[in-house]
Amino acid sequence: MNEPSLLVVVQRYGDVPGGAEGHARSVVQRLGPHFAIEVATTNSTDYLTWKADLTAGLDRVDGVTVRRFPVERPRAWNFKLYERRAFRSAHTLDDERAFIDAQGPYAPELLDFLFKRGRDYDHVLFFTYIYYPTVLGLPLVPERAVLVPTAHEESAIGLAAYKPVFHGPRAIAYNTDEERQMVWRRFRNERVSNEIVGVGIDVPSGRDASRFRERYGITGPYLLYVGRIGVGKGSRELFASYERWRASDPAHDVSLVLIGDAEMAVPKASGIVHLGRLSEQDKWDALAGCAAFVMPSLLESLSLVTLEAWAAGRPVIVDARSPVLAGMTRRAGAGLAYRGPAEFAEICELLMDEPAVGDRLGRSGAEFVARTYTWPRVVDAYLDLFAEVRTRLAA
């Protein structure tokens, strides 16, 4: 076989939630025909504890060999303490190293594998800048490494420990121009080869809003959120804004439908409907019927589900303080951004009173996704980056 070899390194892999992990899996599936591909990951599916809930050793997912290395200690129970120490301005390098280990997934055998066998692969693709496998693994194979950082503004990215991750690889595949600008501003690593690659969106042909309404008993117009429900995702602000709007404007009877696992208590307020995790088909049916898709998270490098809402032809409502979401929404002309609960309410009222506006924004979003987030373009972008790496190694 003459096809080049590719090792993909990611903290969790398989049937696991998580944007970056799903991203990694769909990229592996699409790159499969072009590379002899393997995945190096851990034996955990849970990023909060890193408990070893899978068997370490060789596994297969979607027909691809997956090497699962054991997580040797769970995430530190007092991880928040390590975070506080490392994020103080007066922290030390020891604080940073302790934070990286405590955050995990602590899998030294994965590093040993990269140390001894990493150079047997033509390319090593690392997903997510922040975790132990990338921070400590990428510097073992920098000359053949491509990084998909999935980075956003957060305290951790200010640590010196991450500088080699952004300066060391042969190439970086960013998700969005906003992410790249943020990374360049922080790291001054413009000289590292890079491309805005992102992902492709697979749109199922059949989408049926009435099927969704029937199955889950949803009547009337609804706002939709899909994803993890938690403080870090901006859910608390979303609930507060929604409840304020409904209280001040009882004339609009609009529910807020939530799909996804909750890591915080969902208020029992009238109009808020939490459905938990649903199938892909249910999700697309739900997207097709929503008045608007709401994405309150500030910390996104790329919101797949926002792209999916656009692909379904629906407008999005985003927080103006999220540089990536607000920037993409502006570029796509496919939604509205709010600053605070008052603007949130105004936007909701506008979209309820003028459904044509929402439809027009949604159409514009569908065109944006069809233009940019298609698999043939994404695969070509990866192939170009990897070809560049190979040329340099062979020179």
Binding site: L93, P108, D112, F115, P142, A160, G168, N189, R392, A395
Partner: protein, 383 residues
């Protein structure tokens, strides 16, 4: 511009090629920039024992920040080194290499993390020691690396895999070093400048007494530097004796600290350490300088010989010095067994090769030429 030079040892008393180069660079840059040095309080590289006071001091216009070395070099370092370089071992073994080798100075690293952003450019000297290998990754966005790399085993170790991908620019001492680093790390895309060195004009010196003494006995061949097996002086002595036994004439004079036994013969003279004036007098009186060492990152003594018009003989095993001799057309390189023939060739063309070497030094090693290359390196790093 505000420039920081990071080097494992620093000061007029410090003996070492990279360290001397770092000090020369700091002083040249200080003529037009604000230059500081971050270094340790050690004088020697085998114990890292404290010698200088930790803290700030001035070396002329250069502000020197000395950070304390914590812990001396491990007494078992050589054994551990052999294990890591030549036996099966783990990732952790290799990662432990830096701290074990020393100089281990956590305060210097904390200083870089905390204060690094206040400098426009940070120039790191010598890839191999911890201040560079652990310090540069803390400030890659403003780092230049003067790696002074040889083709040696440690260059393969894991702490250096990423190090050579991180700086904004490299300063190499020679084109041979650049080619070695590019071949090993495939990092040609990082810009670089071949720095070489600048030289002062030789001090007043008088070659006549040496000439008067040695000329009657035939050609005068000089070796200058540490007299040790590490510098391959044992090979030189064997080559010289073979040359004499096959009918060659002349004297071999060794100038430098002796760290090995020297055979007692009339035609081999060990002078020990000599002053700068004696050095140039000896070089000018010599018919040839010979440098047998396999591992030189820049043969400064070749440049000094050429300053006074003396041709050079170098070991063909050393790509750097062989490259210098070819670029300057200032001598010849020899393989083991070819010493006598190469010496005869150089002696026959002494004046022509010496003049060519002198012209090369006058072109490449003036201070303005060196300063121009330094400025180019700083621009690559800071812009």
């Amino acid at each position: 511009m505000r420039i920081l030079v990071v080097v494992q040892r620093y000061g007029a008393e410090v003996v070492g090629g990279s360290e001397s180069h770092a000090r020369v660079m700091a002083h040249r840059l200080a003529m037009v920039n604000e230059v500081e040095v971050a270094t340790t309080n050690a004088l020697d590289y085998w114990s890292w024992a404290p010698y200088f006071a930790a803290g700030e001091s001035m070396d002329g216009p250069v502000r020197v920040r000395r950070f304390a070395v914590t812990g001396l070099r491990s007494t078992t370092f050589k054994e551990s080194e052999r294990h890591i370089l030549f036996e099966p071992h783990t990732l952790a073994d290799e990662q432990g290499w830096l701290a074990m080798q020393g100089p281990h100075t956590p305060d210097l690293l904390e200083f870089l993390r905390r204060e690094g952003k206040s400098y426009d450019a940070i120039l790191f000297y010598t890839y191999i020691y911890e201040p560079t290998a652990a310090g540069l990754p803390l400030v890659p966005e403003r780092a230049g690396l003067v790696s002074t790399a040889h083709d040696e085993e440690p260059l393969r170790l894991v702490p250096y895999r990423a190090l050579f991908q991180l700086p904004r620019a490299f300063g190499f001492l020679t084109p041979e070093e650049r080619d070695l680093v590019h071949a090993r790390f495939r990092n040609e895309h990082i810009p670089s400048e071949v720095l070489g060195i600048g030289l002062d004009a030789p001090p007043w010196h008088d070659p006549e007494p040496f000439r008067d003494h040695y000329a009657p006995r035939g050609p005068l061949v000089v070796y200058l530097g540490q007299v040790s097996e590490g510098k391959a002086v044992d090979e030189l002595l064997a080559d010289w004796i073979a040359y004499r036994e096959s009918g060659g004439a002349g004297s071999l004079v060794l100038a430098g600290t002796a760290r090995m036994p020297i055979p007692e013969r009339d035609d081999i003279v060990a002078l020990g350490r000599v002053s700068d004036e004696e050095k140039y007098a000896l070089l000018e009186a010599a018919d040839a300088l010979v440098l047998p060492s396999h591992l030189e990152s820049l043969g400064i003594v070749l440049l000094e010989a050429w300053q006074v018009g003396t041709p050079c003989l170098v070991s063909a095993k050393n790509k750097v010095t062989s490259g210098q001799v070819i670029r300057a057309s200032g001598g010849a390189a020899y393989d083991r067994g070819g010493f006598a023939a190469a010496l005869a060739e150089v002696l026959a063309r002494r004046d022509e090769l010496g003049a060519s070497g002198r012209a090369y030094v006058e072109r490449e090693c003036t201070w303005p030429a060196f300063d121009g290359r330094l400025e180019q390196l700083v621009d690559l790093v800071a812009n």
